[in-house]
Symmetry: none
Subunit: 245 residues, 2 copies
């Protein structure tokens, strides 16, 4: 069961086994590209639209399983796009992108229907996690999978944010949680510091590169302290999370 089309342990798929279809809507080409690439890496089929009108057309033509929608588009407001898209795709879940300091971007009611949003600047890990959560909830994909990640005796419940090792509860901060989630979604795979930085930190992070080392150190303190280590350093390469067995 480990060797499917991808060696990722947890690629989501639709009921008929075909890949998840996502539509990314952002007028900034760089961001649209960044998101598209990240989602393709999840094994999904991705299209993107650079305007509201294009988004409405694309939604109609492609019938995506999920939509990532920047609420700040030049031609149509987020709510307009949503309404028009819902006219043809009444059930598609939407993840909204909104500026953090947006003067009340009127996101009110957007999460009410079960949709969700993330604020810019976001981390890719966060976007992907939320999309997966949306897909899980709406049942659009065949996920035998629960919202629980398990690696060895390490356990993470994405819904309740509970983490435990060998039954013992572990409290993590938001950043630690995201970092560990990234590791747990890629067990036994070496992740370089650059990869981790790109994935777990906000895309505009401009700080010192050793922040990853610092947080790995924090994580080890919480999950490896006094136990068989699961988080290993590969000098000059990166880090791996491996079952302690």
């Amino acid at each position: 069961m480990t060797t499917t089309t991808s060696n990722r342990p947890d690629v989501l798929a639709r009921a008929d086994g075909s890949p998840v279809r996502a539509l990314v809507v952002d007028d900034e080409p760089t961001l649209a590209e960044l998101l598209s690439t990240a989602l393709r890496y999840e094994g999904w089929q991705v299209d993107h639209a650079l305007s509201g009108h294009a988004a409405v057309r694309a939604a109609k033509a492609l019938d995506p399983d999920v939509i990532v929608l920047d609420v700040m588009l030049p031609d149509l407001s987020g709510i307009d796009v949503l309404r028009r898209v819902r006219a043809t795709n009444p059930n598609v879940p939407v993840l909204f992108l909104t500026a953090k300091d947006a003067v009340e971007d009127r996101i009110a009611g957007l999460t009410a229907g079960g949709d969700d949003y993330v604020t810019k600047p976001f981390s890719l890990e966060e976007v992907v996690a939320r999309l997966r959560a949306l897909l899980r909830r709406t049942g659009a994909v065949s996920s035998r999978e629960e919202a629980v990640l398990v690696v060895g005796d390490l356990r993470m419940d994405e819904d309740s944010h509970e983490v435990s090792r060998d039954g013992e509860d572990i409290r993590l901060t938001a950043t630690e949680f995201e970092l560990l989630r990234y590791f747990m979604r890629n067990p036994k795979r070496v992740l370089s510091k650059a990869q981790i930085l790109d994935r777990v930190w906000q895309y505009d992070f401009g700080g010192q590169a050793n922040i990853v080392e610092l947080y790995v150190s924090y994580l080890r303190r919480k999950i490896d302290k006094g136990r068989t280590p699961m988080l290993h350093t590969l000098r000059g390469v990166g880090y791996v999370l491996k079952p302690s067995v």
Copy 2:
């Protein structure tokens, strides 16, 4: 029991197991959309009509289990719609939406048959709760479910509005009750402040965002004071209600 079609603990269904069918009638597209999406998220099958005539037609065609009906439609009065709908669907329960300052006796006439109403602006949590109550009362759905929510030693009777923890009665205000109900319908799931705001507060709430913090604080005072805490803060993420075990 964890792996049903949805991971919601309490999705209502009809006798034959098919989803509940709801018809939303409101001439304001945004509101109709908001309601429809929220009800779909409950796992129901939803259609909406934007006028009285369309509503009558839709009711005939769809034979819904429940109808959400704005009494203030441009083409037909609420009474007319009700009368015509009842001609083809004599038993369908109706939840009326009415403006706050609407004349009281008219509503009284409408709801005489066991129907119910909420005033605009409403909170989604309230609408959903009333609809669930209507469905329960009319027996249109197979609800093994009682009107009682239980999480750990916390108990809430939705019909009598009684709340107790470990046998001890707790008096809650209306807002506190709705907030706790939302938590109890989503135990062990992180709820963000935005989600809570969208769901528990009226859709036109434009106030300070820290209102959620305030009410969580009130709730804790009443349900957690001097006990093992059940309402936990996840900094930067949201809140979770968990059994104190």
